[in-house]
Symmetry: C3
Subunit: 274 residues, 3 copies
Amino acid sequence: MHSVTCVTRRMQYDSPDCGPALRRIRSQAPFVYGLTNYVAATLSANVLLAAGAAPAIGAAPGWPAAFGAQAGGLWVNAAGLINATMQDMLAAIDAANAAGVPWVLDPVAMGAGAAEYDDIIRTMAARRPAVIRGNASEIMALAGGAASARGVETTASIAQAVPPGQALARRLGAIVAISGPEDHVLSPDGQQVIIPGGHRWLTTVTGAGCALGGLIAAGLAVTPLPGEQLTMVAAVHALYARAAEKAAGAAQGPASFATGFVDALAQLQGMAGD
Amino acid sequence: MHSVTCVTRRMQYDSPDCGPALRRIRSQAPFVYGLTNYVAATLSANVLLAAGAAPAIGAAPGWPAAFGAQAGGLWVNAAGLINATMQDMLAAIDAANAAGVPWVLDPVAMGAGAAEYDDIIRTMAARRPAVIRGNASEIMALAGGAASARGVETTASIAQAVPPGQALARRLGAIVAISGPEDHVLSPDGQQVIIPGGHRWLTTVTGAGCALGGLIAAGLAVTPLPGEQLTMVAAVHALYARAAEKAAGAAQGPASFATGFVDALAQLQGMAGD
Amino acid sequence: MHSVTCVTRRMQYDSPDCGPALRRIRSQAPFVYGLTNYVAATLSANVLLAAGAAPAIGAAPGWPAAFGAQAGGLWVNAAGLINATMQDMLAAIDAANAAGVPWVLDPVAMGAGAAEYDDIIRTMAARRPAVIRGNASEIMALAGGAASARGVETTASIAQAVPPGQALARRLGAIVAISGPEDHVLSPDGQQVIIPGGHRWLTTVTGAGCALGGLIAAGLAVTPLPGEQLTMVAAVHALYARAAEKAAGAAQGPASFATGFVDALAQLQGMAGD
């Protein structure tokens, strides 16, 4: 079984299978529902709108059950527990699962030292997310390795996180996406897609990683065939990396970079500005 | 009674009655209190500051009753239920009503399929808002028509929403403002003001509609005569439309559009930059 | 005792003791934990990232106790009570105190008329904050003077606030920082540092004052000697003032000012953009 893990490919925005995947987001404009934290929520919504999706965020009374079922995709950012309850999150997850809606789990700050919080993430991870997206420390902690995060920051490298990430993918039957200098997207059956590029300034924009989780959910919403999810998840990472590169060229600092990044997402996704 | 509805006029930023109304916001700098959602809260505060008002947002202990009564105007965005309780909202509304403070209701995502949530909006709508502001789907749902929204997005047209919006205005004695390609502002006695212009990129900036609700509350705060509220609500829409047009000319995408939009609001409202 | 208060100096970004203090933030990249409000949270995180610190924000289950103890510095913004409980805040404060982590209290909207809210701030202020940062009205209200705020806005002048601020510093053994056209930083032993400059557009960017509280916590995190805290707190204000001046020169309005301000913070702190 381990021999399967040698199936590795690289993807960039210009790769042939990237564009068709991303165009489905723009043309189908999926409704995507998110439970995320208030630090990242505004950027996440704007990233989704720029890419062509239709987001709604938050756990107003009745929303988790209704929107979890109606959405094309759901993303659950564990740090959303700063403004929603575990019950809200489980209600949205269960509604999504019952309706066949794919969902993304982002285990923000997993392994940073808050045991009660980590337990809630484990409870959610056991409910069949289609994709788990995090940084190296978070993926390692969720895979059962040593906790090493510092708040929401990683203290581990991608290289350290790939083997436990592959084990986690196999165990949960989920795609595992690890963000870093090069992103690694791992499938349960041992495939690996590496996405180079991007820009380190993404790490200076709060919520950029969280917003990526939302964008993955938008991708899943327009990918009915499970066998095509790996390509879609990688394509979304490639879009992110290219937009970051475009933005970095003209930026004066992290705030103008963030503005340019969202603009670049919209440009790459074909939103005309007339 | 229905024959009254033929009183229709158009307003733009350059219309003679628009400027004097808007200048009162800048010169009086009203304290405006808002209960809104964390996705839109930052933009809403910045929009109000750019226009010359003094906002405070959120339901800290004691704030709804104190600030609801002290404010010049209050806005209640139903999606604020993602970070406040119905009790908080009713406390602010009741305090505002007792003190004679006009308030704005924004029925975000009304009719999108969450019955418990919709019921809370109906409870609030029955407490005499001065203005109800929403998109076509939301106004139709609140007026009792078929639910048709998709999350926070409209799936209906302005043309469909105007007749039920007029009925809603008459029934509740409130001004009803419907946002769309052309905004329609409807009074309880059958007047209608149409505001053309604006830019579709406003729909790609999360919270832009929510922030408009706050700006309407700022306008009401400096409009003591009820008979002048219709003009003020229309003037605020005209300011929004013009700022969007100015911003669209120089924008590279939705994020630089958002920056330019807030800058344009400040410029149009006479905030000097020296 | 009062004669000590004549020890006054002025500090600007170019002052000899400013640069070395600020460089410690960049070189040590302290983990800073914040309980703040959702209106200001995104800007606060981005300001801290631009300055070189590593922020985490919010009260997810288990975070206040764990992160309050692990952080290099903690900031508690009272308006964070719109999205966290008093218990969350006291848990973070107590954990910080037990671990010797310095913390900053920002008494937002103190004295604006919500008695229950003001009482919670007094309860927190009695737990030995290292620094209290606010505007003139807030500091006067916390010092026991007449309440005079209007929501989150000051209605008092710096000159009015300095004497009660000095008394507050002595009584609580805390540094008291008052933001205004010229910032005043007051030590418990009667020293005063005045920071001139800045730009009034900072008051048109929601959360700019709140974010300053976070940046002070980052400064404290890299200042182990209590005797050097006064200089660090003043240096952080001087950085803020210089960044505002840089941003104002190129801004078209408050939103482009905010973008330029965060960019300028990063530039002044030596973040290269390659």
